[in-house]
Subunit: 190 residues, 2 copies
DNA sequence: GTCTATATTTGGATAGAC
DNA sequence: GTCTATCCAAATATAGAC
């Protein structure tokens, strides 16, 4: 049907807009991401974008949701039959690598570093979903008490933020993950 | 002399400008900090501020330097005769509390979250000074190898960012510091 | 020192023609 | 769907009078 073709064309254009916005965020920073700049890259009139997104905030929301979705896909790709230690190591490695491979995405998802924007409730729920998924994975290897989960999030988010901010593209904090996990696991043994 | 009085008056006005800027950052976010908004709070004309600061960036630089200076003062207030464990606990506590007591300052100093601004080389050196000081404190209690320092910065910055972002004003991560330090210290013992 | 007035830039967003 | 033409709102910064 024609409507289906039109719909898919529309989706493709939306995807192109988002991809262009990511490109700008990566190369010029979040301060430059806006309807005007995106339109310029696409050689479109800024007003044309409003046929695809309600406005600048809606574009950011779509990117936020896409970023969270990508993270959830990565986590689902992890094997589920690993032992405790390997599970934590792989989870942390995936997370830190995910953050470091795209600092712009890291800033959007985890650092609230986008001027004048915060996620809509709908977009925010995609972040909550990921947190819940992390909790269930941790629960599966026997870590479910609040303080342990909080210590784990502090540890992994600290490794990620240091890696991104001070050694992007390297492995200065990435290679500390085994040590960090062993340290974390030993904390509970008397 | 008149010049000295004039100088001190000038310094006082500069201080008032900075204090007003902090107030705006805390209550309205960094996106609203600018010469216009500051001037409005002070009931001055925006152009008058240029007699005290070269511009918006210079104001941010001054705040960045002041924030780092405040942190260094806090660290210098710590007792120096503590044992290893107490030293790490107190250092971490001071740091996390410092971050949490003013999220706006935390964002400026550690999260590069101010749209369109980054510290001048001169301002940046005040941050480097603090890092070097932290290194020397850690060295005094026998922690001086790179990986240990990196793990320590990841751990403390992770605790701080989680505390600020997810439990500002509370103690959900603050109270994990003893556990975290014990975990950190035990990591090196066989 | 401080003001008024203004230049300049940069955004988001809308109306209406085609 | 896309464009042109605007509108409107911020924001930095400067010129020049008082």
């Amino acid at each position: 049907m024609a409507t289906a073709r039109v719909e898919s064309r529309r989706a493709a254009t939306r995807a192109t807009i988002i991809e262009t916005a990511w490109e700008i965020a990566r190369t010029q920073g979040w301060g430059r991401v806006g309807v005007r700049e995106i339109a310029a890259h696409l050689e479109m009139a800024p007003s044309s974008l409003y046929g695809y997104f309600a406005g600048n905030d809606a574009i950011h929301d779509a990117m936020f949701i896409a970023g969270n979705h990508e993270l959830s896909v990565r986590f689902e790709s992890l094997p589920t039959d690993l032992d405790r230690r390997s599970m934590l190591i792989e989870t942390a490695r995936h997370f830190v690598a995910f953050c470091d491979e795209d600092p712009a995405r890291f800033q959007l998802l985890f650092q609230h570093a986008v001027p004048g924007w915060e996620p809509s409730p709908d977009a925010y729920s995609s972040a909550v979903d990921n947190y819940e998924h992390m909790r269930s994975v941790m629960g599966r290897v026997g870590i479910s008490d609040g303080p342990s989960l909080d210590l784990w999030t502090a540890l992994t988010s600290g490794l990620a933020s240091q890696q991104v901010a001070n050694d992007h593209g390297g492995d200065r904090w990435l290679r500390l993950i085994e040590t960090a996990v062993d340290m974390f696991l030993r904390r509970e043994s008397t």
